[in-house]
């Protein structure tokens, strides 16, 4: 038995017969003797928030980057919306990517564009029939969702860390993704802003019924947002369960995350 799995009861809503994301035997190495992922298996049900924990370098970010094809897996099956993305060419992969949002650790806002242009850039490319008025409405709606309408004409360099995260989230939301992947959404933020971002993640999930994978080291964020938590260790999933169950795990290493 995997140590972290002891005494774990998962909520009924967590598993479904047709998971939105299903990963089987995912392996990735970088050069010789540097196997980062050694066979990750995971499923995420529709509308579920899955939190991924693990030490730095355990392969959390690599896992979600494999899900959108940013990193090509060495081995394994990655099914998103029941489509094996490892078998897709670039055009077909892009059709899947439009349905997935990705919030990067440092927000990855385009430095040379204003907030408006940052949001307009993906929208114009994927919704060509929209009029200028409709584009403007969608931008304002996305900014409204993150409470930052007033920042519309600012440059990314004029924004604080928390504001950048929110704008990054607004850019992610503008294409109305069905899945959102969060790469350490609260890293580098103060406790209050971290909580605000975590609440925002939760409200977005409730409002848009999105499926999310949240990579974090912030246990408050994990507790607030996670329906289910997995812990990566040495390239495999070492423990899996609800936050409360893992917190009470018999495994000392698993418990050490929750101290």
């Amino acid at each position: 038995m995997i140590p972290g799995e002891a005494n774990i009861k998962l909520p009924d809503t967590v598993f479904s017969e047709n998971p939105v994301i299903a990963v089987k035997g995912l392996c990735k190495s970088f050069g010789k003797d540097n196997d980062v992922l050694k066979g990750v298996d995971l499923t995420v049900a529709k509308g579920e928030n899955l939190v991924v924990l693990g030490k730095s370098g355990s392969g959390k970010s690599i896992t979600i980057k494999c899900l959108v094809g940013l990193i090509v897996a060495d081995k394994g099956e990655i099914k998103v919306f029941d489509i094996d993305i490892t078998q897709l060419d670039n055009n077909a992969l892009n059709e899947v990517r439009v349905r997935i949002g990705f919030l990067f650790q440092n927000s990855a806002l385009y430095d040379s564009m204003t907030v408006r242009q940052n949001l307009e850039f993906p929208l114009r490319r994927h919704s060509k029939k929209l009029s200028s008025k409709e584009v403007e409405e969608k931008i304002l709606e996305a900014l409204g969702n993150v409470g930052l309408e007033e920042a519309i004409d600012k440059m990314p360099s004029e924004l604080s860390g928390g504001m950048r995260k929110r704008i990054g989230l607004a850019r992610t939301l503008i294409l109305k993704p069905e899945i959102i992947l969060y790469d350490e959404p609260t890293t580098g933020l103060d406790t209050i802003t971290s909580r605000e971002i975590s609440e925002l993640i939760l409200s977005i999930q409730k409002k848009n019924k999105t499926t999310s994978i949240i990579i974090t080291h912030d246990m408050a964020c994990a507790k607030l947002t996670g329906d289910r938590v997995i812990i990566l260790k040495d390239g495999v999933i070492d423990a899996e369960g609800t936050y409360d169950d893992l917190e009470k795990s018999e495994d000392e290493w698993v418990r050490s995350f929750f101290i």
Binding site: I100, F104, A108, Y110, S112, F121, H126
Partner: protein, 252 residues
Amino acid sequence: MVVYLKSVFNDAGDVTLFTARFFKELFMPPFEIKEFIRQCYTIGYKSLPLVGITGFIMGLVLTLQSRPTLAEFGAESWLPGMVALSLIREIAPVITALICAGKISSGIGAELGSMKVTEQIDAMEVSAINPYKYLVVTRILATTLMVPLLVVFADGVGILGGYIGINIHSDVNMFRYFSQVLASLEFLDIIPATIKTFFFGFFIGMIGCYKGFTAANGTESVGKAANSAVVAASLTIFIIDMIAVQLTDLFF
């Protein structure tokens, strides 16, 4: 040694694939016209003052330096033709290309390098936007078209600088000066020199984009990308120039 050679061949292979991808993506829609025009403005229009000043100084200095030698042979009247030929055939294309390597190639290397490091390129990719087409194709195309125009501009300003240089020591009518300049030029002086500037522009853009686009993660790599873009582009300019001169000599 084997490791070094392996790395050299790997790099050469990567550059070849990167370049081949440019020609593949160039003719495939969507065409990023707006970004291409923006790049033409940044690369071409914003380089005009620097290229203009350099071109003017090139013409002026070349005239002032050549004058005493020509005067010794009583051949001062050849000065306008000599300045024009030197500028158009060799000096203006090479110096302008080197300036562009310093300004444009390093700028592109640093810009794309920092975009890579801050995951902006990844952000484009996950938004199903082709970053190669948006960032690389537009920039390479802009440099390929703008560098020849900048060279033509430098030619003109350099010849004007030559006129002022001549008039420092003597009094030459502008019409007479330009008549002599035009009389000394043939199409065969202009065409090969102009053709090579397209190659200069292409490689300035391509090297800057390659270095930036393939920058490793970490802020240090941004500086390295910018620096190595200038070095590689400058060296490439000299190599292309040498090949172009040999070919011109052979065929014209």
